[in-house]
Symmetry: C2
Subunit: 379 residues, 2 copies
Amino acid sequence: MNITIDREILLENLNVISRGLPNKSPMPILTGIKIETTDTDLFLTSSNTDISVEVLINDVSLKISEPGKTVVPGKQFIDIIRILGAKKINLYLDENNSLIIKGDKSEFNLKVMDYMDYPNIDFVTLENPLILESSELKSIIKETVFSTAQTEKKPILTGVNFNNKDNQLVVTATDSFRLAQKIISLDSYEDFNITIPNKSLDEMSKVLDSYDGKISLYFTSNKLLLKYKNVLFQTRLLDGNYPDTSKIIPNNFPIIIRFNRDELISAVERVSIMSPKDKEKDKETTYSIIKLSIKKDRIIEISTTNNILGSASEEIIPTDIEATNSITIGFSSRYFIEALRSFMSTEITISFSGEIRPFIIRGDYDVNLTQLLLPLRMD
Amino acid sequence: MNITIDREILLENLNVISRGLPNKSPMPILTGIKIETTDTDLFLTSSNTDISVEVLINDVSLKISEPGKTVVPGKQFIDIIRILGAKKINLYLDENNSLIIKGDKSEFNLKVMDYMDYPNIDFVTLENPLILESSELKSIIKETVFSTAQTEKKPILTGVNFNNKDNQLVVTATDSFRLAQKIISLDSYEDFNITIPNKSLDEMSKVLDSYDGKISLYFTSNKLLLKYKNVLFQTRLLDGNYPDTSKIIPNNFPIIIRFNRDELISAVERVSIMSPKDKEKDKETTYSIIKLSIKKDRIIEISTTNNILGSASEEIIPTDIEATNSITIGFSSRYFIEALRSFMSTEITISFSGEIRPFIIRGDYDVNLTQLLLPLRMD
């Protein structure tokens, strides 16, 4: 193997490939990046068994004077290409099983791994894709993934559920203390019901970070393949049935309050400095409890009491309020802020069903996004 | 106690006070900030026993309607003042032993600590100061403190030695693998020989970060007090005699090479990616070894070999070179880069005494600063 290529092009593709690289792996070969060329194209592959990534490079700057294939230590290879100052980079295999990396006055000699050890990565066959805008998928991830469970107690809850029925795609994430739901109308696509691991969605979001345009999604029963430009990004899916959450969202709200989103976030953040951190056995239920109540003159008070430190309170004048009765309701400040931050809207609406019932947040301009929180008991 | 003050003024002073606050302390009262007022002035004090800080505030925005004194939980008090949006802040003690902090629509109620528990902080008497420019002391700290020992094996080496004799102040730091030395001429001041803990110098540097102007230093046998504007910053000194390092710096250099500083740093950083991390028992001697050698055509090669990963090399054309013989010398890349970074000069000179002798680095414009490194054996 002997190739030259613009460093920028190689680095851009390695940044994508890095999303599939494990830090360490029970299979050491997977800490490597597979490099393979035909006479005209360069393929790079990485895999951590959950996620596999492949890029095809046929940039004009690529010159393949001798095709070949090898596996190089992934982290070190990326570090070297990142730190080199050169515009053009020359890569070739020498007789001592090393990849020589040359650029300007720098020369690196990187011992390669055994190509034969690298497992065959089985990418899904490219048939019948669902086409979405990259920005649409990135929004869905941002709006839902934070509500997935962080522990493996119920493994299915560590993923985000995508359930398409009659061209209505319902995307749901819940850790059983809160729920995020986004509904999207699809043009026309067969029904599917899959649950994607939260880590895979985080990586997918990073991979798509600098890309705007159409993406293609290919489904099988246990894998999802994302294709865009020259990139294949594949993830395993979670086994098992996602719980039915359709009846959790209440639909009768005696109290509806409108807020300026940023004003509300600031007030909650200030009060949270003094809020008690209750640690239960389960790490997932570590929260800071704050209290929201309607005061006289229809002013909203956000407050908290900490037995050791003291207390804090903030008054907010809501944009609008419809209330047939008063309410005092406690909840996790972190969950509340994460839910509020998922909205793009300047104005958001919180609808309460009762002091011990879940409440929901919606935004003026965030179409079909619902965030739900369970209240917490205050002692 | 009942006072109002501009939030900005209070916060600026609390940032100084925070340098003396311990994260935790065997004496819980020391996690508090002492607040004390006369009819006209506000005093804030913090101490972690090594470092004590006091500020006196008599800003025009300060209104003291009722003088008083208290001790408040330090971290929480600073967090609250930092996050408040208000321009003016009102602080008063209520009947329930709480400090009420009011600003705009926010109200915090912070339980206070027992003022009687706070130890008396004995600041050095203000007599016969050494006057320096703040920028001068900050430079000295930046140029030397990184070379102090990070372990307590020889406690005296965790400090920087300031030795003034006949108005020549020699500042030295060494961890016995490297040495930093700065020489300064003083106007006229009595001899002293003190060793200041590295952590105190780090905090001193942060305190002075936003201040340029004259500072006053007051010495006793076991304490140093820094005074500037409205701030007193006092640190304990290290016990014991600092080792005599006067004979360590060689004075005969058969090889002298001049480099562009940034070019050399970049080359060393690139090569270091591949350099072996040798861990000896002592954490302090964890280093990456790189090799410098003079090649034909008077080109300098920086290289490294890693038994597992491979190797790397860089060629640099020096600005100038005087050499009666060739040399190949190994050393810690981290220590080398830290030494190079301590210079402001664009051009630096490295003077070699021999392959197994210490070598020194000096800069064109960094007057009287010497960095010395011990070579490492290469296997």
